[in-house]
């Protein structure tokens, strides 16, 4: 396996707003070779499905071709694509700046794609439509939010919305992610992170956390795949925030990162010590916290001041630490000097709107009308 970072730039004649790997099939251990992109800011926007022949090419040892995506099929999309997720293996849900949400079905036999269902006018100001800003999917449940401050809960199998939270937020919700089966996290443009319990009869958030100090907007959110109470956010001023939902009020750490809005943050699904961010400044960063724990643990034992250790003093018996029910998660460690941060695409100039990672292949969708595929060295 190659140990350096390799990348390929594919120009696609449309600015890409969202990029998403097809979820890998649960039965097989193989990685997915298909991903979907959505475009924005064009007269005709499209949802495109791409194939990355990595597996085959790697066997033939042709690394150069391996990273070039090939178009499988495409479908027109009305308005900018503002959110894009898979619902199952061949159904894609896309939210639009026209306030609607559409389900696209990929017909694998004929390699075509078409609209299966469209929820019109989900988001509007009175009579005129307003953009849907983001969506989140868990199983068959889809949650969308719009510039109208509404949150709508849909089921992929049902034509009418399951629930509409009328005044979910007085500022705009920019990002959504499922926390648990019936709970969602939202981030808004006044720097707040809220959780909503979809079962609760109240429209009020279950929890509200906020960045203190100058008002800043939050644009993206993702939760730790293993420990859902750990949440990462990207803000308008380029800061990566790490939050612990068990601690009320404010983020655990704020890491100054990009020189522009962080449009997406993404935890690696299986190597959760790794996180990826992309930004308006044209950079994609790889945050590697795998070394944060290593020597820090020892320090914790000596000083006993680790935040996650609950304030208990482990000065005597080191083995007690290992026997402890919960070790400090690396992302919550107060000492992030061991965090390794890599910039992955240095020669890119225009904004990167979206990233997604599967195994060792990172996808980036940019405003320079390109898809960048990056092959990373194996992760610890």
């Amino acid at each position: 396996m190659a140990d350096s970072i390799q990348s390929f730039v594919k120009f696609v004649s449309r600015k890409i707003s969202k990029i998403k790997w097809q979820p890998s099939q649960k039965q097989t251990l193989e990685c997915s070779d298909t991903f979907v992109t959505g475009s924005w800011d064009d007269e005709k926007n499209k949802i495109c499905l791409w194939h990355l022949g990595m597996q085959e090419s790697m066997e033939r040892d042709e690394m150069d071709d391996a990273l070039e995506p090939a178009l499988k099929c495409e479908a027109d999309h009305n308005g900018d694509v503002t959110g894009l997720e898979y619902v199952g293996s061949d159904v894609i849900v896309a939210s639009s700046s026209t306030g609607s949400v559409s389900l696209y079905k990929h017909h694998t036999s004929s390699q075509t794609m078409g609209i299966q269902y469209k929820w019109q006018c989900l988001h509007s100001h009175g009579n005129h439509l307003c953009p849907c800003t983001c969506l989140a999917v868990r199983d068959k449940t889809i949650v969308t939010a719009g510039e109208d401050g509404k949150m709508v809960v849909l089921s992929a199998e049902q034509k009418s919305p399951q629930r509409i939270i009328e005044n979910a937020d007085s500022s705009t919700i920019n990002g959504l992610v499922f926390l648990r089966l019936t709970e969602v996290i939202s981030v808004n443009s006044s720097g707040q992170l809220k959780t909503y319990d979809l079962r609760s009869s109240s429209d009020a958030p279950a929890q509200t956390l906020s960045v203190s100090g100058e008002l800043t907007s939050l644009h993206s959110v993702d939760r730790h795949p293993g420990q859902p109470h750990i949440v990462a956010t990207g803000s308008g001023d380029g800061v990566l925030g790490i939050w612990d939902l068990r601690q009320e009020k404010s983020p655990v750490s704020l890491l100054e990162a990009h020189n522009g809005p962080v449009w997406e943050v993404k935890f690696h699904k299986t190597n959760s010590d790794h996180l990826f961010t992309c930004s308006e400044d044209g950079a994609v960063w790889h945050w590697d916290s795998s070394l944060v724990g290593a020597s820090h643990m020892v320090q914790t034992q000596i000083t006993g001041t680790g935040a996650g250790s609950g304030g208990a003093n482990f000065s005597v018996n080191p083995s007690f630490q290992f026997g402890g029910s919960e070790t400090l998660n690396k992302w919550l460690s107060p000492d992030n000097s061991k965090m390794e941060i890599n910039s992955l695409i240095d020669d890119n100039i225009l904004p990167v709107n979206s990233v997604d990672i599967e195994s060792q292949t990172l996808l980036c969708g940019t405003d320079s009308e390109s898809i960048i595929t990056i092959r990373l060295p194996s992760m610890r």
Binding site: E147, S170, S171, S189, S190, S217, G236
Partner: protein, 654 residues
């Protein structure tokens, strides 16, 4: 698509309201707005009312850059452009020159890559009209690559010792591939000499300086063992190679060898060694550089610039770029009868005449999209090929003008405007002004797009534009009754005026309905509330309510009084504040001290006097209900005072 200046495109507008004339206003880039009417001659002359629905029409014309394949080229070359501009600030001298040359090659590689894409698309499309369109793109892109590569050799590369011929031969080989193709075909034949193309191919190869291939072909001839063949092959093989000059031997050395070799060719020719075979004789005459022979084989070195290079090779292989123009006339005359000189010819002509300006000027007409001239001129500018004294307005403006033109066409595109921004950044003189104007015209379809444009403004310290974007977005939110979202926009631009307006709207809502809206925002304002006094008041007033509802009556009372004393509250809101004090006064527990009670009384007094004055002036005053409330308040205050004095006295006594 590539309108030459003479192909005029028309677009008919059938609208009877236009019978009196049509007026137009420029939009951004490739866009015009048309509306019926005529220019009034006198200022008081009015347009005749047609009584019909008059419409404004938007007319747009496509340029080829908006085609999907060429859009890829736009984005690809954008990277090269920006990188070069970065290098320009960091490197100097030879290192920078290498970089310029690299960029030039990179640009050409881009053109070639998309030539290939277009070629593939021509092969795969079934739509005839589309195919024609692709063919047209292909043709233009081919021409642009041809011109670019010649300019690269003549103006950018400036080879060792000024020797251009070897480079030009490479150029020939790359762009006139017939010779190579014919050669490959013939090599597959058993008896190549029987083919009609045999001798033509040899001439072509020799004319392009591909000597080795010519020899191989000659040695396949059945008569190869005869003396004349052997002599010629021998001569060809001993032809001094210019490429050796790059490997260290001097130009003078080469010149000497060349003269010897040519004398030998000449001698052999004059001795009539090849008189039996006229084809062999033609080859040797080419080697001798005889003027007449080039006209005889002109079909093998068509067009004229091919002949020019062939001629230069055999007549003066060490010719300097600046002397190439001596050959032009003769070569053009050879073809004059058969073909008219086209645009391409005149551009190449100017290039060979080292007339950079003419090249740019003519290319601008041929390639209407601006891509070609903008990038080439930028390269030439960095090379120092554009001397300012030759133009009255200076050479940098020449580059800037073309970049602005190109950026303009990008800015008018739905999606490519973001690329245009980078180009404007590198126009020192007018770029910023243009960008400011363009940014005002980009539609803000969504908050995300607004955020992106805002970032562009902030990066360039365009505070006015940033403020106006926030204002547009904020006003839109207000119209849509999204006061919370509106506030986030005004806080972002630190717009004190609008933040105040919004705070007043919130307060108005409260005083009308008795309930706060957008609490989720107001409660978390933090230090941002300090932006405007009214906003601070709003935040603090809300804090008062929170304290009150949490049962922190003393803190609530202190805060209320502080708000009144600091005069943060608008006068018309004082009454609300004072009435809010009422429940605190009516608590059994003492909340306000005597000192505080006196303060409250003072405030009340001030308010009532002012209203009395107001009533005298314009008849406005309190409603009956308000008056009653104030009476109750007065009563409560006067009851509280002795209570407070008493308690304070008791405390003192204790």
């Amino acid at each position: 698509m590539a309108e030459r200046e003479r192909d005029i495109q028309t677009c008919c507008i059938s609208d009877t309201s236009c019978q009196f004339g049509l007026q137009s206003v420029w939009g951004t880039g490739n866009q015009l707005f048309l509306f019926p009417g005529k220019n009034p001659l006198l200022s008081n002359e009015r347009r005749p009312a047609t009584g019909k629905n008059e419409q404004i029409r938007e007319v747009q014309w496509d340029i080829d850059l908006h085609h999907p394949v060429l859009r890829k080229m736009v984005n690809d070359s954008h990277n090269i452009f920006v990188n070069l501009q970065r290098q320009a600030t960091q490197l100097t001298g030879a290192a920078f020159h290498t970089q310029i040359l690299n960029s030039s090659r990179h640009y050409r590689a881009t053109q070639k890559a998309y030539l290939k894409d277009l070629d593939d698309m021509i092969g795969s499309t079934r739509d005839e009209e589309q195919r024609q369109q692709y063919m047209e793109h292909l043709k233009l892109l081919n021409i642009s690559e041809l011109i670019w590569s010649l300019c690269e050799i003549l103006f950018i590369e400036s080879p060792v010792g000024g020797l251009v011929v070897p480079k030009l031969l490479d150029w020939l080989k790359l762009h006139f591939i017939t010779a190579g193709r014919l050669f490959d075909d013939l090599m597959k034949e058993e008896q190549p000499e029987s083919k009609t193309t045999y001798w033509d191919t040899i001439f072509r190869l020799v004319l392009q300086g591909q000597i080795e291939k010519a020899c191989r072909l000659l040695s396949l001839h059945s008569a190869r063992q005869t003396d004349d063949f052997q002599t010629l092959i021998n001569l060809l093989k001993r032809m001094p190679q210019l490429s050796n000059v790059y490997k260290g031997s001097s130009v003078a050395e080469f010149d000497m060898k060349w003269r010897h070799w040519r004398d030998e060719c000449q001698r052999n020719y004059e001795e009539q060694k090849f008189s039996i075979n006229p084809n062999l004789e033609t080859v040797v005459r080419i080697l001798c550089g005889e003027d007449a022979v080039f006209s005889e084989v002109k079909d093998c070195c068509d067009p004229w610039y091919h002949m020019l290079i062939s001629k230069a090779l055999y007549q003066d292989p060490t010719v300097k770029a600046c002397d190439l123009h001596y050959y032009i006339q003769g070569c053009q005359d050879a073809y004059r009868s058969t073909t008219r000189l086209g645009e391409l010819d005149s551009i190449l002509l100017s290039a060979l005449e080292s007339d950079v300006y003419q090249v740019i000027k003519d290319s601008r007409t041929v390639f209407s999209n601006g891509w070609f001239v903008a990038h080439l001129t930028d390269l030439l500018h960095h090379c120092g090929q554009l001397d300012s004294h030759r133009l009255q307005f200076g050479s940098d403006l020449q580059r800037e003008f073309l970049l602005l033109e190109y950026a303009g066409s990008l800015m008018s595109h739905h999606s490519l405007w973001i690329v245009g921004v980078s180009y404007l950044d590198h126009c020192a003189e007018f770029g910023r002004k243009y960008l400011e104007l363009y940014l005002d015209h980009i539609p803000l379809d969504s908050e995300k797009k607004a955020n992106k444009i805002l970032k562009i403004c902030e990066d360039r310290n365009m505070t006015e534009q940033a403020k106006s974007i926030c204002k547009v977005m904020g006003m839109r939110c207000i119209r849509n009754k999204r006061l919370g979202a509106a506030l986030t926009w005004f806080l972002r631009s630190k717009d004190v005026g609008f933040a105040t307006v919004l705070a007043e709207k919130y307060l108005l809502e409260y005083s009308e309905s008795g309930e706060f809206t957008n609490l989720d925002l107001i409660d978390y304002l933090g230090p941002s509330m300090l932006l405007s006094n009214r906003l601070t008041f709003l935040g603090k007033y809300r804090e008062f309510h929170k304290l009150y509802s949490e049962g922190e009556y003393h803190a609530a009372g202190d805060l209320l009084l502080a708000l009144l004393q600091a005069r943060l509250a608008p006068k018309q809101f004082w009454i609300t504040l004072l009435i809010d004090a009422l429940p605190l006064l009516e608590k059994t527990e003492l909340i306000f001290s005597s000192q505080q009670t006196r303060e409250l009384m003072k405030c009340l007094e001030e308010l009532t006097t002012e209203y009395k004055l107001g009533k005298k002036r314009d008849g406005l005053g309190f409603t009956e209900a308000r008056k009653d409330q104030l009476d109750v308040l007065k009563l409560a205050l006067s009851r509280n005072l002795p209570k407070a004095i008493l308690q304070e006295g008791t405390v003192n006594l204790l």
